[in-house]
């Protein structure tokens, strides 16, 4: 397992196994009922109190506040597809909002399950950096409003499973190698046994399509933020090593099959006229692996991430400015993908 062929180490391309990092802090204002129990009037009042502060935070410049009740459904879909808001927030009405920095790296949900869900998001493995960022935003807000806090239980949250630090760290991981070697399941089981949550980004459990998994910590009380993040990074690093090893083993012992898998995905993505979002996710997983292993050129990982996003329903409808039926979506998705991959080439 630990054997690493030189070919892998010699690769200059970033591994991209960790696609993105995220940290969220659950916070509540003292003396105010939690959003799920508060009345609409209370929620609206709280948003009015909070709104002004978001645009004056030094640690979060150029902030835009978007109220859910005022947003069109398509816009809420776009925010959800970018993982800036949850489904739960998208469904909420007056009093719920998103405050978002212009670079989309800091996003604060107001009146979701908690009064505030402060989130920092970044591409790749950047958990420590985004912790510093969101910690700074948190400290600024803490200065302006009294947080609900107890010396015993820490930050008090609507759900007891978030109490303490209120911190949830998560990464999105692309585990195509482990899927091909049939090792995804044991790895996920192992992670769940030691208290992490793993879920398919799309689909359920290990049936996740596109081989994308979201891994996050579960325990929030009893350790410091730094301890939680360090332990989490250690585990993610371990999974990344497993994935690298799986890829290296595949490249060595099943090279032709691996290239065939990538080349078939390449052929379909470049030529298909109709494509469902699930098929696209699975094919892009193969193409992504092909780029990272040096089998495909003329296109980079940033392009793949963009294709992934723009093929989603909300983004498609936003780009055309109207509601699309399932068939229209599948044709448009296929066309956008073909265009984006115009310069892609098989190198093997």
């Amino acid at each position: 397992m630990v054997r690493k062929p030189g070919s892998w180490l010699g690769m200059k391309k970033p591994t991209g196994i960790v696609i993105s990092s995220r940290i969220r802090l659950a916070r509540n204002i003292e003396g105010v009922a939690f959003p799920g129990w508060a009345g609409e009037q209370e929620r609206v009042q709280l948003l009015t109190r909070l709104k002004g502060c978001f645009t004056s935070l030094a640690s979060m410049p150029n902030t835009l506040v978007l109220e859910m009740a005022e947003l069109a459904e398509t816009d809420r879909d776009v925010l959800r597809e970018r993982h800036l808001i949850s489904q739960e927030l998208a469904e909420r009405g007056p009093g719920s909002a998103l405050a978002i920095s212009s670079d989309e790296q800091i996003a604060i949900m107001v009146n979701e399950e908690d009064h505030l869900r402060l989130q920092a998001i970044a591409p790749g493995m950047q958990l420590r950096d985004i912790w510093d960022k969101i910690n700074a935003v948190d400290s600024e807000i803490e200065d302006l409003f009294g947080y609900a806090f107890s010396p015993q239980l820490g930050y008090l949250t609507a759900c007891p499973s978030n109490v303490g630090t209120g911190l949830r760290a998560s990464v999105m991981m692309h585990l195509a190698g482990l899927r091909l070697t049939n090792e995804v399941e044991p790895v996920i089981n192992g992670l769940e046994k030691i208290g992490l949550t793993v879920r398919g980004l799309w689909g359920e459990g290990t049936e996740a399509y596109g081989n994308m998994f979201q891994v996050s910590n579960q325990q929030t009380l009893g350790h410091s933020e730094a301890q939680i993040i360090d332990a989490f990074i250690d585990l993610v690093t371990e999974v990344t090593e497993h994935e690298k090893n799986a890829r290296a083993r595949l490249a060595e012992s099943q090279r032709v099959n691996l290239i065939d898998w990538v080349a078939r995905a390449y052929g379909l993505l470049k030529n298909a006229r109709i494509m469902s979002s699930q098929e696209k996710a699975d094919l892009l997983s193969a193409l992504r692996l092909g780029i990272e292993m040096g089998y495909v050129g003329g296109v980079d990982i940033a392009d793949i991430n963009q294709i992934m996003l723009m093929g989603k329903t909300g983004h498609l409808q936003k780009s055309t400015g109207r509601v699309l039926g399932p068939e229209e979506r599948d044709t448009l998705r296929a066309r956008l993908t073909r265009n984006k991959l115009q310069n892609a080439k098989l190198l093997e």
């Binding site: 129990w37 910690n135 010396p151 820490g154 499973s161 109490v163 949550t197 009380l221 933020e225 939680i228």
Partner: protein, 164 residues
């Protein structure tokens, strides 16, 4: 049927639990069952008690025999329905119920993380009291953890005093 805990996955594990002599089912997914030790270890009643609202201790009853939060008027039965508390004060009102749940979910019942600046004094006071009681009951590991955090907290205060 969706899992009673995460409300997302399909519930495939059915746990029998007796409430006041009446059999009730708790349907959860495999992931949640494992996560909360519902299949392996024994503290099964802890979570089912929380979900079904049966607490080991007799609680301070309200007029209708239910605990209620005086701040937000949430009843214990509301809490059992949603698994969400009504307001920050509910943590005092439903302390016993929440503690049981936390024991099954979290490695410790003491917060060791960030402390808001305006809560620092209260946190130090709390840690000092806990340090005494932990030392008295010879919980040396816990006492050491508290002592470390206390030291770090005092250091933070010194630093911010220097800055301002």
């Amino acid at each position: 049927m969706n899992c009673a805990i995460c409300k997302k996955n399909e519930a495939t594990v059915s746990l029998k639990h007796s409430v006041d002599g009446e059999q009730k089912d708790l349907n959860v997914c495999v992931a949640c069952a494992d996560k909360h030790g519902l299949r392996s270890q024994l503290p099964l009643p802890v979570l089912t008690d929380f979900l079904f609202g049966v607490s080991a201790q007799a609680d301070v009853p309200e007029a209708d025999g239910q605990k209620v939060c005086t701040t937000c008027h949430m009843h214990l039965r509301d809490l059992q329905k949603s698994n969400l508390l009504g307001c920050p004060d509910c943590y005092d009102t439903f302390n016993d119920d929440v503690s049981l749940l936390l024991e099954s979910l979290q490695p410790s019942s003491q917060h060791f993380g960030k402390v808001p600046v305006r809560q620092r004094a209260a946190q130090i006071e709390h840690f000092e009291a806990r340090l005494k009681s932990e030392a008295a009951s010879e919980h040396f590991e816990q006492a050491a953890a508290i002592r470390d955090r206390l030291r770090a907290l005092r250091h933070e205060i010194q630093e911010s005093d220097v800055r301002t």
